[in-house]
Structure formats: C-alpha cells, structure tokens
Symmetry: D2
Subunit: 337 residues, 4 copies
C-alpha cells in the first residue's frame, strides 16, 4: 500500500528562461534544493505553480521533470486538472506512469458550479483514474467544494484526501468530523500558510504551503515543532511567517511575490508570463527590498546594502510608507515636485 500523504508538500513555482520557456536545469536545481531543505513532498502544477499559465504539454513536462528529479526520495503530488474530464483522466494516467504518488485536481473553475456538478466532476475522474486523487478546494479561484460533497466523494476509494486553501478553520473541522470516522486514511492538507499551526493541532495531516517554496526550512520546522508538542515555539514561528506571507501575498498579484522570494534564495525564476506594467516593476523592486530584510532577519540572505527601514509590525503601515515613498519618487522624476 502506498504511503500516506503527510507533512509539507511544496507547491513550487517553475523557473523560466529568457524566452519564457521552462528552464529545466533551474527547475531541477530548485527541486533538489527543496528536497535537501526537508520538505516532505513536491506539488507541481498547483496555483502557486501557475498551472493555468502553461500549456497541456508543458504541464506534463513539468511533472515529468519533477518526478524524475525526486527519484522516489519524496512523493510527488501532481496537479492534473485539464479542460475536460477526459483530458484530466489522460493526465492522471501519464502522471501515474511518471511515478507520481497521487494527483491533485482543482475543482472546476471559471464557471462557478454548484455542489451537484462538483460531485459529478470528481466522481467521473475518480472512477477512471489509475492513480490516487486528492481534491483541491480553493473557493477564491474555483467552484467551492462543500462538506456534504466531500462526504459523498470520500465514499470513493480512489479519492484519498483534500487540499483546502480556504484557510477556514471551522470548515476544516467540519470536513474532518464528517469524513474521518468512516475514512481514517483520508488526508487533510491545508494550503493557507498562516494558520498551519492551528490546522495541524486540529487534526490536519500537513500542508501544501507556498511559503515552503521560499523558506522550506521554516515550514518544515513549524511542522516538526507542532508534532513534537512544542506549541509555544511553533506559535512564535507562525507569527514570524505571517509577516513574510503577508508581504509576498499582498504586495503583488499572486503569485508574483513568491517568485520574488524564490529569487532571493538564489534561483533564476525569469519573468512571469503575466505581463507587468512599469509601475508594477517599480513596486516589485520595492517589495524585493522588504523581503530581503525579512529573510535577512532569519539569516537566509544578507540585508540590503542600503539598510532596512524600521518595521512597524504592521504590513499595512509599512506598505503605506512604501507607497508614499514611491509616489514622491515618481512625482520628482516627472518634475512635479
């Protein structure tokens, strides 16, 4: 029987080269680094991994590279959603051949479908997939999966877990309560980094956390602290990760802030396939300076040569300060001031 999916699975990004194509060398180097740093598994083609910005062929190539590089050292949870169930099932077969441990299928997106449609969608995939399936609930981007639907879907053996990125604790508790007694093997993973500690305490089996692609050591340590019952230290670390997470999440359109973070750890990520305006380039440079300061606090990088501003402890205030600085800077350049 296959190993249970537990611990920290990194929904990693994909480095691009100067032409905007997948940079295989850097992807392998990045995946290798993540494994070395202690993540329990890899999760290509997630939302952080920008699956929607790759073609079907590219998505396959990403999973192939990642499975190959992981070489069985850590399990791979492969994002497999395609435009139809038929193509998704095809992808499931391919990823099974590549050696993925399971696939993760996001709920239908673009249209906001009701519970019956969500059920029918996953049911068809589960009945035809040769590889274990985890559901992926991310209601801010895709049709929500509600508790009764999860309960119905958990009756299908092929469905082995759910990754939930709502960050909603009571929802997680309702899911666990509804499913666990009948399916003790069913796995619950949280995709909302800033509540990882409470989620684990309430019974989650692990997380698929974007931040673990930037600071895999810390997410792993958070997990280990909770498992060791060292709650006080885990909470302290959770607070520190909150600042890092907020900075990467709210200072640029997702997941660009995380790309900026991975770059600071020494990987050439290339430009996003989502174009940026001139204003956004300026903002991103400012964001990266702030990020460098936070990462320097952890000792991962050097602080910027020009020094770090005193942080107020409030991302909002820091951002306002940064924005004001940028506005003034720009006004000066335009000769307005």
């Amino acid at each position: 029987m296959a190993a249970k999916i537990e611990g920290i699975f990194t929904p990693h990004m994909v480095p691009l080269d100067g032409q905007g194509n997948i940079c295989e060398t850097e992807l392998r180097r990045y995946v290798e680094w993540l494994i070395t740093k202690g993540v329990h598994g890899l999760y290509p083609n997630g939302s952080t991994g920008e699956f929607i910005r790759f073609s079907p062929d590219e998505r396959r190539r990403i999973v192939r590279i990642v499975c190959d590089q992981a070489a069985g050292r850590v399990p791979v949870l492969a994002g497999a959603a395609e435009s139809t169930t038929r193509e998704t099932i095809d992808a499931c077969q391919t990823y099974a051949e590549y050696g993925a441990r399971a696939v993760a299928i996001v709920s239908p997106f673009y249209y906001r479908l009701g519970a019956e449609s969500v059920y029918a969608y996953f049911r068809e995939i589960a009945l035809n997939s040769p590889i274990d399936v985890t559901l992926y609930n991310i209601p801010m981007f895709a049709s929500p999966i509600d508790v009764p639907t999860i309960q119905r879907l958990a009756e299908l053996e092929r469905i082995v877990g759910i990754k939930d990125s709502s960050g909603d604790l009571p929802f997680m508790m309702r899911m666990i309560r509804s499913v666990r007694s009948a399916r003790p093997d069913f796995v619950f993973l949280t995709g909302w980094d800033v509540v990882l500690v409470p989620m684990l305490l309430l019974g989650c089996n692990g997380g698929t956390n974007a931040i673990s692609g930037v600071t895999p050591e810390l997410t792993r340590r958070l997990y280990d602290l909770v498992r060791a019952g060292n709650i006080a230290e885990a909470v302290t670390l959770q607070y520190r990760l909150l600042e890092l997470f907020d900075t990467m999440l709210y200072s640029a359109d997702f997941p660009e802030g995380f790309r900026a973070g991975v770059e600071l750890r020494g990987f050439a990520m290339g430009q996003s396939r989502q174009p940026m305006s001139e204003n956004q380039r300026i903002d991103r440079a400012g964001l990266q300076r702030v990020l460098q300061c936070i990462l320097a606090d952890f000792g991962f990088v050097e602080a910027p040569a020009e020094g770090c501003p005193p942080r107020t402890g409030s991302v909002e205030r820091d951002r306002v300060a940064q924005i004001t600085a940028n506005v003034v800077h720009e006004l000066r350049q335009r000769g307005v001031l």
Copy 2:
C-alpha cells in the same frame, strides 16, 4: 476601414457528437440558422460557448468552421483567450487569417488580478495583435476591468470596444462617459440579456446575448424595436425574455440551461463535457419541460403533450413547486412515501 461592430452578436454554443467531439455538421447547420434568423454577428468561444472546455486546437477549429460558414455574410467576433499572452497573440493571428472581424479577449481568469496587471495584459496583446481586439469584462468569472483601466486601454488604437457581462448599468454609463468623447468609434456591447433594452437606450452599440442563441428572432426584434424608438413594445418583450432567461440561467449550472434551449429549437447539442449527476438529469428534464412551455407561448415549439402548469409569474415559486414535485416523486420511487 472595417465595419463597426454593432447589433446582436450571438455567443453560440458548440454541438457535440456522441463521442463528445465537435460535431461540425450540426455546428454549421446551427450557425446557418442563426444567420437566417437575423443575428448581426457570431461570437464563438465565449463563456456561453464553453471555450474553457475545449482544447486550444478545438478552439481554433471552432473559429475556422464558423468563419467559413458565415462566409462574410455576418462578422465574426472570435474569443481568443489562451493560457498566455504569447499563445493568445498566436490565436489572434490565426483568427485574422480565418477572416474574423475582431477577437474578444476575456480578462485574466482563475487568479483575480489587480488593475495594473489587467492593463499590462491587454496592452501586450493589443500591441502585438494583427486584428482588432475587444475587451471582455465578466467579473463573476474573471478579473474585473475597471473604468480607469478601460480609459487607459482605449488609448490603444487596436482596442476597439468592450463586451461587458456585469449587467451593471451605472458601470456601463461610467465607461461610456469616460471613453466615448475621445474614441467615438469605441464599441460597447452588453452581455447581460435582461437589461438589453435599457443598455441600448443608454448608448450601447449592441449585445452579445446568450439568449440570442435560443431565440435569435426575439433578441433581434428587441434590438430593432429600440432602434425604431418603440420603447413600450421593447419593454414588454424585455419582460417576456426575462422569464426565459431566468429559467435557463438559474435552473441549471451555466450554460446547461441554454443547451437545453437550443435543443428545443431543433439542434442536437450532445452531452456537456461537464458530467451530470443523476439528480441533475432529472432536474434538466424538468427544466426542459418548463422551457418548452415558455417557447410554446412564443409559438416556436409545440407545448408538451402533458400540458403546461399555470405559471405564477415568479420563477422562484415555480421552481419551488417543481422541486417539491421532484422530491415527492423521488421519495415515492424509493418507497419512502
């Protein structure tokens, strides 16, 4: 200079065969029928057309067939959004070669991007497209395009209009006020069928209306009535279309109700690529009976042999009645009653 995009553009669906593939024969027959019934243009690969449920190759094939069948008799507005700007620009080139009048590009979806990203995205496409571009704003499914962004994008010559499916009248007025004086040629189309009359009165150039794929005669007549200044009759027809629209929109996950409607007009649409549960099949059969009654009122089809229930004038009440009937039916079948 190319003709202005005006009037009713049908965001038509795509018939599928028994294997779930595009049925070219039926698609051509359907497109031909729409042209005969008087729509001003065709709009393949829209939201109603389920563009997200086709592969990139299939989307190209759909546009090729539609352009070919239209044969210049009516303009084609081709949905061209692909997973990256590079691929979208490729599609623009292809659709220009096929003879499309313009492309429609939906705002980036899945992620909810901010205004700067939306601007940068459309700007890059507009600067590289060999064919006129219309923006497509559908905030319930994709990143919203706000008024200042539209104003900035209207500075690019290649962008010639916007299709807005928010149904928000004041928003439409704000767009028109912000853009029209500087760009009198810029076209505003509404995708929200039930406010077509007021939208036209407030200055819209036309609509891309799902209902025109089911009752092209009526949408066309609505348009003609407004243009002729016959407001009273237009309003009466608008009210009748409201019932039809609500029934198709709210009785099944979009756009399944419209597929049911097109079938009633005599086209074999095939099963949706989105799987249906058993419950949904029962609901859909019930919906189709109600739809048949409404279409019979207009004289488009025969009323069902078993007769039509008295309609209360309230879709909500009618649906409750229908649901209750179904529940009881099912309970009886299961031997509960």
Copy 3:
C-alpha cells in the same frame, strides 16, 4: 381613497444646529424649498435622512415638523422603523395622526435575517398599522427582501408598495412581474438615482432619490422628461446626474457628500453626528470644491473663485488627481517635501 404614491419623493436630510440638535427653522425652510422646486413628496427618516442617528423622540419630531410644513401640499412618506415591531407600530399610529400619507419600513437591520423572518416582521406590522405601509429594501444595509417574500407580502392590503435601493434592474423587473397583475395599485419606487430613467421606463412609479435633496429641479425634470417620452434628453440628463451622484456618494462616507451638496444650495446643515477626523475635514473641503464646480455647470451656484480643474470625465481619475494633490499638500505642511 388615498392618492397613489407616485413621482419623486425626497429622502431629505435634517439640518442640525451648533449644539448638534435638530434645527427646526432650517428644516422648515429646506422642506419649503424642496416643495417649491417641485418634488412630489417628502420622505423623512430615510437612510439619507440618517434616521439611525436620531433618538426615537427626535424621529417623531422630524416627521411632525415635515408634515406640518408640508401642510397637505405634498404627501409625506415617513420612515417609521424602530427597534421592535411594537414600537414601530406605535410610530405608525403617531405618523398617521401627523397626517403622513404612508410609512416606509426598512427591513430588519444589524442581524441579517432570512426570508421567513423578514416576512413575519412586515406581516406583523402590516396587520397592526393604521396607515399604509411601503416596504424598504436596501440590501447593502439591511436584511434583503426577496421576490417571493414581496409577492407574499403584497397579499396584505395594508402594504401598498416597495422602495428598492438595490439599483438592480432585473430584480425590479422580477418584482413588478410577480406583483403587478394581482395588485395593479402596488407601487414600485427606486432609490438608486443613477438608474432612474431605465427604472421608470421599465415600469417604476417613481423614485426616492437622495440627489433630489440637492438638485430637486433636475430629478423632477428627469421624471417629467421620461413621462413625456423624451428619452434622448432624459438620458443626457441622467448622464450628468451620474457625475454628481458619484461625486457625492463615493468621495465621503454616505451620506456626508449629500450634506455637502445641500449646503451648497444655501442651507446650514451643521456637523454630522458621525465624528470626522482631520483628514476627513480636508477631504470634505476638496469634495465641496468639486461639487461646487459641477453645480456651477448647471447654473445653480457660482463657480469657485479659484476656478475649476478640467474634468476628465472620469470620477476615478479626478479623485486620484485630488488625492495626489492633497497628499503633496500635506507632505509639504509636515515638512517632508
């Protein structure tokens, strides 16, 4: 039989004196002016009238003054919602004695109640009120009233209409379709100024429009133009009112922008009972300058001595310009620049 409630009912504000108390003299002068300018009725204790910021006794006093001043020349629709149905019914009795034509009762607020509770609430009031009742639906502030509930409530003779401030045209159409055939006397009023023209065209009987407290002449003219079938001119005026409305609505927390507008028409409104920060005072002064420019375009007031900035036609851009100016102003004052 009492006259039908039709036309423009002004949800007027209440002038306060230097101590923050109701200024009866100015209230009478203001009400008199509104009548002179042609509004069809008065609507004290609405949302614009800040009913929630007055005590139960003050609310009674406001209605007493307004009924007395109107003296039967125009009907008074008195906002009568109190903290319980018992007290609300008391207020209904009092307002009947004062000579109000009808009361308007907002749906229960603070808690968001479901349809059954909303129904039970209005039913109890309707069965005990000695005066005609209009429902007041304002879903952004109070529990929503849905179409089936309106249909049920319209079975009660005492309920004679609904004032809807959702601004949602299809919702208005659904209400009208559900109720009008059984209750042709039932009145539909819209509280969303910027869609007054389409609402009237679709069958509304009138409006309770905040803007009519600032420019009663214009709202009245809009109404008359639609009734006379002069749609083109009505639409042009509607667009001009959009700019005025947006400026008053979005440049300060509601209804402070409308207070600023009424002041410009020559009434001493006093300070709001909602405290303002220093920043807000600066913003309000800026808003009032913009408002003065817009009102000067209509010829109602003189333009500011320092002149008016060129308006871009986009409230958003104008506001950004204003904000930037304010930021720079403040930074200079603080010695930052």
Copy 4:
C-alpha cells in the same frame, strides 16, 4: 488599577415575560446561574443579547440589573452603543456608575463606514468616556475595524481591548502583532466560539462566546484546558462544541437558536421580539429536539422521550433529513400526500 479583562465573558440573552417585557426575576436567576457555572465575566447588550431590539431605557435597565446581581463577584463588560456618540458617552457614564468594569462599543452599523470614520467615532468616545472602552469588531453586522485603525486607537489609553467576532485567525494575529509590543495590557477577546482553542493558543486573552450562555461549564472547561496546556483534550471538546454551535447558529436566524438552547437549561426566555412565521415555529421545535439530544450527550438534560435520531456527524445532512421530514409532514397535513 482595575483587573485585566480575561477569560470567558458571557454575551448573555435577556429573558422576556409574557408581555414581551424584560423579566427581571428570570434575568437575575439566569445571571446567577452563569456565575455559579464559572464564567469569568458577564457581557450584557451584546449581539447575542439583542441590544438592538431594546430601547435605550431598557438597555440601561439590563446593565443595572446585571451589575447589581453580579455584585462585584465577576466583572461586567457592558455593551454601550447608542445612536450617537453623545448618547453613547452618556451610557458610558451611567454604566460606570452602575459598576461595570468596562464598556464594549460596537463599530458604527447600518451604514458601512470607512476606516477614517470608524477611527473618529471611537476616538471621540474614548476621549470622553469615564470608563474603559473595548472595541467590538463584527464585520458581518457592522463597519469593519481594520488593523491600522486598531493600531491607531490603541494609542488612546482609555481603549483597553478589542472583542473580535470575525473568527478570522490571521486577522487576530495581525492585530496582536501590531498592538501588543506597544500596549502589553491591551486585551484581545474572540467572539467566534468554534475557534476558541486556536485563538487562545495564538495569544487571545479570552472570549465572549454565545455558547457560554448555554453551556457555561464547557466553555470554561475549554479555557481551563488550554491554559493548563492540555491541548489534545481541548481540541476534542472544541469539536464537540462545533456541533452544538453549528446547530444553534445555522438552524434559525441568529440568535434564536441560542434562546432555544438557554430554555433547555431551564430558563423561561419568552418569545423573541422578532416575530416568527408558522413555518419558523415548526422549524424551531425541530431544532430544539436536536439540541436536546446534543445536550443530553453532555449529560445536561434528559434525552427526548421519543429518542434521538442517529447523528451522521454532518450538520448539513442532519438538517436535510430534518427538512425532508418536515416537508413530508406538512404535505401530509395539507392532504397533498
């Protein structure tokens, strides 16, 4: 110096007599029971306490009775929001005289005010209140208080804490991070019962939990377990409280389910001032049966004579079962089946 506000403060309901008036005897008996059962403090005039459904005089009377009955044994946190800051400040003075430990002021409601208005509102009250003030953030019912605003307000000595009912853990963490270092005495209370354990672990000082008005023993025990570091047992209890909470919260419009719960503990609560429809009475009877079963599991009451249905562990499913039963029951009564 006054004692820090810590632990479980019960936002208790107010028993009404047959005429719908405050029943002082029962209120005293209920408050006495709560104290006996171990809650750390009392919180009259909260949202659970239906403050909005009492007159200003009644609200004063409630606080007077509660302070008198508590007689200094436990601190009283008195809800003091009135329609204007002036009247609110009056209430603050009165409640100080009654011996309340502090007041709780809900953010301005009905209108949704922006951050500057919220700041100005609380600032004015804080500068004029003779008694400590706690902010009350409940964004589903009132204007939201954001993190920068809390940070600014925490600069005022009179403001000593915040009660947050958003249930949003990352928001709570952001507040704590922004305020605690500068104001270590500042108190954070959570009003969202189902996340009490994680909130306490992340640094909250206590809770104002509706459920503690029904099962004060359990909320107190939850608190004690967390403080004693017995996380595993606390989590188990938290899961059991989730079922109870969901049943009371989602089976009737808030806070009617809690009234039903308090009744089961032996207090005559009287009918709500919010009228109920016939359907609602039937639903409430069904709810009370389910509640009785849950409370019987804890040993607080006897199970219903007719026995308890097997619970599936999913409130949604149980509710569907209950609804279906009710529908069938009703249909039978109407002779439909």
